[in-house]
Symmetry: C2
Subunit: 190 residues, 2 copies
């Protein structure tokens, strides 16, 4: 029996991404975002929603660039801290001991400690309620070379992307592989 | 050492959602989507990207409604099948034995077998490359009452949302809880 829970953002799973950018003074900054996803295959594009009041938002608007740093399970507490404290108040990056690296394809920094980073150029903004949905065109993806499969794809079981579950507001790690996409369903074909 | 992988949709994790709608003839239909996410907290909204050629796309455009059925791990093969075969060619819903239920808040069906469903009214469309990003305003969320925490939030460990990892194109289950959001990071506060 299904129970009605109301008009709430209770979709699962949500990603946990550290969105990094230079702030208006050019200092590396980042915040945590769980409202976002891939939005087109070609050109490869992603969306992430921020509030206008965020320190990171102003930096992205100025530099038209941001990086999605995929949060691995082993950096869960650091990632969460990026979502609790504003870059307006302190240099979160220095406090956490993260190493900013200047992207060679967009005007934004990424963090060397994060194993998988997606460098985006801001191409559109759309206001949706209290958030602004940023659309970034992916210019490059960089991954630690010891966390690849066949030298070309990020290995999910080494990246261990963190997941957020709205409602309970928990972080979860990635679970076991249960099958291949575009393959498991073939058993229903005659 | 980071390796450049090119401008590809290699973000992790991506969700696995069955997007259901009535088709142009009014028949319940669904497809699998992994390109999407929550896009605003208020009004609660989600985005999902579809190609215009999809059978489901035409139905959503006609009825201005869709439902995000969160795919649980135990329906991985069924969910994958919804992404392999087009509703133009066969009645996938009947073949999989899914039970369509008419939403009471939007003009779309959901499937009783999926434990968590999010009923959306189409409010915006944005073209991004080869995809159209649909923005849906959430009108209600319904969850099986035996899969709730405290009677009000979906329990991730009972919903067991399926995850997709682009690149390797694997499905993974949800892993263990590693901590609470807006809490784990407090250890870095002085």
């Amino acid at each position: 029996m299904k129970k009605s829970l109301g008009a709430k953002t209770l979709a699962q799973p949500a990603p946990v991404w550290a969105v990094s950018a230079y702030d208006e003074e050019g200092k590396p900054n980042a915040m945590i975002a769980a409202w976002g996803g891939i939005c087109s295959s070609d050109p490869a594009s992603m969306t992430v929603s921020l509030r206008k009041s965020r320190h990171t938002y102003a930096g992205i608007m100025k530099h038209k660039s941001f990086v999605i740093n995929v949060c691995p399970t082993w950096l869960a507490a650091e990632s969460d801290y990026l979502g609790i404290v504003s870059g307006k108040k302190e240099d979160k990056i220095a406090k956490l001991g993260l190493t900013p690296v200047a992207s060679d394809v967009v005007n934004a920094p990424y963090f060397d400690e994060f194993p998988l980073v997606i460098e985006c150029e801001l191409v559109h903004t759309y206001e949706v309620g209290i958030h602004v949905m940023l659309v970034g065109q992916i210019k490059d993806v960089k991954c630690d070379d010891d966390k690849l499969v066949d030298g070309k794809n990020p290995d999910p079981e080494k990246i261990l992307p963190l997941l957020f579950t709205p409602g309970t507001r928990d972080y979860h790690s990635l679970g076991e592989c249960v099958g291949k996409g575009f393959s498991m369903g073939k058993k229903f074909m005659e």
